[in-house]
Point group: D2
Chain length 109, copies 4
């Protein structure tokens, strides 16, 4: 069992001990990801890019990841596979020759 | 090397081939996570909880995870450690005896 | 009839001509606000603070405001009243003597 | 002076008494809108569509609107004009004949 599967097991155990599976539909898990992403963003509000609370970064990032893993688990998604697929897809959308050194979106390249 | 480290290596290689490290400060990575989270949310808009485009879910979830991994890497964060820590912390915030079967927030328990 | 009420009337007419009232529950309107807020945020990604597409700013801001007005209308909320109330409440949370010149949150003052 | 201009005046007075103009660049105002939108979304998490805290809805909606008005003011945007323009533009994107009774996005119609 790899590390991610171990974490997913702990998250499911945590959820099931509290009988929370009933709340964890895919739509609300997507809401939860957005809410936690907003809390992450708050660490940077009115601040320079690297001037933030490192301890809180750990916590907010963990919250986002936890809900991502729960949403993946609910939909039987292999996160390694989707990440590999996305990197391949983005390599086509952003060829090195066109996208090197520019932050433009693919539809503006 | 575990699977997550392999993916992070691929993400860094993708970034560095395009000379994008210059754009990837922590604040903008937090923005990117929020933007992708918004795109994930859009899959569920005006819809029932499990009635959404599964193919797009894979893509949006991969985007969020990719930026989470890049933000973690930039800040030398071990995602397994922060996830373990967060589960422990939440176990204190949400004791089974109080939180079982209710979706209330810890400050309302 | 003031300007805001005129706009709300146009938004409702637009909605009702398309028979979209059935989709506009409060939760999905909150999702829509978040999705549009994410699109607004995208205008600033990897960019300096004032270096963005002004034309798109108009559009994304209009989208957010439109859904805010629809959510207010659905819940019989007077936006002028809630804005007045919030300014008063924030004046107590952020007294001038403590908050002048600092971007700290009220719970850190 | 219309009601919106009166509210904007109060928001600017509140900001200037606290010397906060220095923090209110367009990018951070966009972050603030997203953060408040996330707090709005939290009212609906794990809940049925109309089962939420009405008092908190007033507050979160006021926060979003306040930052929208500040972002508009900073960029000399007339919110009535952009709302009118957007309704016209959406009428072309979503013709009644195609969009009636369906929640599909314009690119799926």
């Amino acid at each position: 069992m790899n590390n991610i599967d171990l974490i997913i097991d702990k998250l499911l155990k945590f959820r099931d001990e509290r009988d929370w599976k009933q709340f964890h539909n895919s739509k609300d898990l997507a809401l939860a990801i957005n809410i936690e992403a907003g809390e992450l963003l708050e660490l940077f509000l009115w601040k320079e890019s690297e001037n933030f609370d490192k301890e809180k970064l750990n916590e907010e990032l963990a919250d986002i990841l936890a809900y991502c893993l729960l949403l993946a688990e609910k939909n039987k998604i292999d996160i390694f596979k989707i990440l590999e697929d996305k990197i391949e897809k983005n390599a086509l959308k952003y060829p090195v020759s066109k996208s090197k050194g520019t932050s433009k979106k693919y539809d503006e390249l």
